[in-house]
């Protein structure tokens, strides 16, 4: 674990019309670590990810990347910082084939011409590492893929690049047994190579198997961010479903949107609202 976190977000508020989905959320992500983001359905996990990756503008909050304040206005900004995301709603172009989707926005070229052979080779290699055995052709449109195959393409797309932070929103939800194992192994390998990884999952076994830290969202508030070794399975489930567990989590039921977590040093600074 290194001293400066790779990404630090503070005081994030986000509303959709009358509904406030995130309130004063803070999150710290360290390089070389897998941070698991857990929370109930509708807690705001995907929304938080989309705020970080520049898809949704935030109502308030600040982003520090490598200790520097940054502004992420759209997905291009995020990509420029080296942030790669696998979204829960996969966001593949159904009218393009597997290779085209995997290299979308960052096509390999020779001159101005697309370098299809290179892309096809790279795609094949990456997919081979993800145990997907039933894809008939890499030139198949993604609309004809099974749920798990689509998921795999989205994951493969994100790990193709030399990024610094990889965020995976429920990447194994549609995957089979072998494929899930491969992805978890991949996640671990990425972190071991020095990348920061954020993993969203509802599967506690997976979370405890690969993560270094666990951050728990409850009804749009960050109720805890602790080391995986410092917390038990049961405690996490309690945090997810009730918002607190023992000393962790919300102080009172209708408290000010505090970040009652144990492992976050910059806690006091994130109280300010803009």
């Amino acid at each position: 674990m290194s001293a400066t976190p790779l990404l630090e977000v503070r005081g994030i508020d986000k509303s959709f019309g009358p509904v406030q989905v995130l309130r004063d959320v803070a999150l710290t992500v360290h390089p070389g670590e897998v941070t698991a983001l857990v929370g109930d359905n509708g807690a705001g996990k995907s929304t938080l990810v989309k705020c970080i990756s520049g898809i949704h503008p935030t109502d308030a909050g600040e982003f520090l990347f490598n200790g520097e304040p940054v502004h992420i206005g759209n997905p291009r900004d995020a990509a420029a910082l080296g942030i790669e995301v696998v979204y829960q709603d996969l966001a593949l172009c159904d009218n393009l084939d597997i290779v085209q989707n995997m290299f979308l926005g960052r096509e390999k070229r020779s001159g101005i011409v697309l370098d299809e052979p290179t892309m096809e080779q790279l795609a094949a290699e990456t997919l081979a590492g993800l145990s997907i055995r039933t894809v008939t052709s890499l030139r198949q449109h993604v609309s004809s893929l099974s749920g798990g195959q689509r998921q795999t393409v989205a994951i493969a797309k994100a790990v193709l690049w030399n990024s610094r932070l990889v965020i995976l929103d429920e990447p194994t939800a549609a995957l089979g047994v072998a494929q899930t194992a491969q992805v978890l192994e991949l996640v671990r390998r990425l972190a071991d190579n020095g990348l920061a990884v954020v993993l969203i999952s509802h599967n506690m076994n997976d979370v405890f198997a690969v993560s270094d830290r666990i951050a728990a969202l409850y009804l749009g508030q960050m109720v805890a961010q602790v080391k995986t070794t410092d917390i038990t399975h049961a405690q996490v489930v309690e945090l997810i479903t009730a918002g607190r567990s023992g000393g962790l989590g919300l102080a009172t039921d209708a408290g000010t949107g505090g970040n009652g977590n144990g492992a976050q040093p910059a806690d006091s600074t994130s109280g300010g609202h803009r």
């Binding site: 997905p75 593949l92 172009c93 085209q100 055995r133 008939t136 052709s137």
Partner: protein, 420 residues
Amino acid sequence: MTTTAVRKGGPAAVTPPPTVGGHVRNYWSRVRGGDVGALPAVLGLIVLCTVFAVMRPSSFLSAGNFANLFTQGAAVTLIAMGLVFVLLLGEIDLSAGFASGVCAAVLANVVTVLGYPWWVAVLAAVATGLVIGTGLGLLVAKIGIPSFVVTLAGFLAFQGIVLLLVKEGTNISIRDNVLLAIANRNLTPTLGWALAALAVVGYAAVQLLRHRTRLARGLITDPIAVVALRIGGLAVILGTAVYVLNLERSRNVLFSSLKGVPIVVPVIAVLLIIWTFVLQRTSYGRHIYAVGGNREAARRAGINVDRIRISVFVICSSMAAVGGIVAASRANSVDPNTGGSNVLLYAVGAAVIGGTSLFGGKGRVLDAVLGGAVVAVIENGMGLMGYSAGVKYVVTGLVLLLAASVDAVSRRRAAATGTR
């Protein structure tokens, strides 16, 4: 039925079609599975031509009529080629017709009224198209007005601008020989053969190079025989066309000789090749498909969606300018109707008949050419039938429907098998 294991091995495991027979079988099952490509439009075209050939054998099948076909359909086809880009994003440009009118009016004013040389006029017309497209694109992408409304406003405004440019109702003649040649003159027979040969050689080079690269990389590729077959096919088609167009078609050879490939043909061919290259082989083209298929996914992939949206309107209006130049050349003049009446509907219709979707993400520039051919054949054939105006409209509608249902029925299996 014994089933052999079709799928095994790594993710790139595919049934390689190593033989010609295998390739044909593969193509056929792809067609049966709904991946039909240009087939339906070509079928529709064949049915149409057969109908007209049976009804008006001598005039429809003459070399002269074949040559007419190209010049008659050229302007609509060129506008349709530009529209394909806009349609690929799921947008629409209702103003393309009158935009071509505005550009033609600029051309006529510069060359006839102001007396500049032809190339200045052409540049001015295309520049006008660029400006128009940029304006439309900015309004759509940056202010966020639906393209239907923006271009409806453009449809009205450009109509007015044409009127103002041609001084409220008068025609402006075009007397410049170079401009007139575009839609009215032919290549010399030798030049026609030379260009055809060049096209075939170029195609062969590209195909063979590609074949070699893929083989060298160990990727799946079509058997060399199939590649050869394709090249041969192109050679036969081009050869026949050039041969027919190089036949003498003057009514009276004593007066004058009339033969050769109309100049618009290489113009359209070159633009077809350029735009197909842009769409299929550059990342810009890839991004157009992506934005049209799933705008949000494209945005998340870091594509500058606004820039793509603006650019397609620029391309569309510029192609409309080219179409306008050809139309002006063909009519020898520009009048307030240039680009008006049915030009727009025919152009969009051409793209859609060719197979381009109005919902974005699906289409090729070739579609515009094939669909433009359908529209041109219908107009051409109907012109030979000698119906009164009312009957002519009705029959034209029915013939269009005929061509489209051949298309729809041959696409049928696509829906049936769920591959869309």
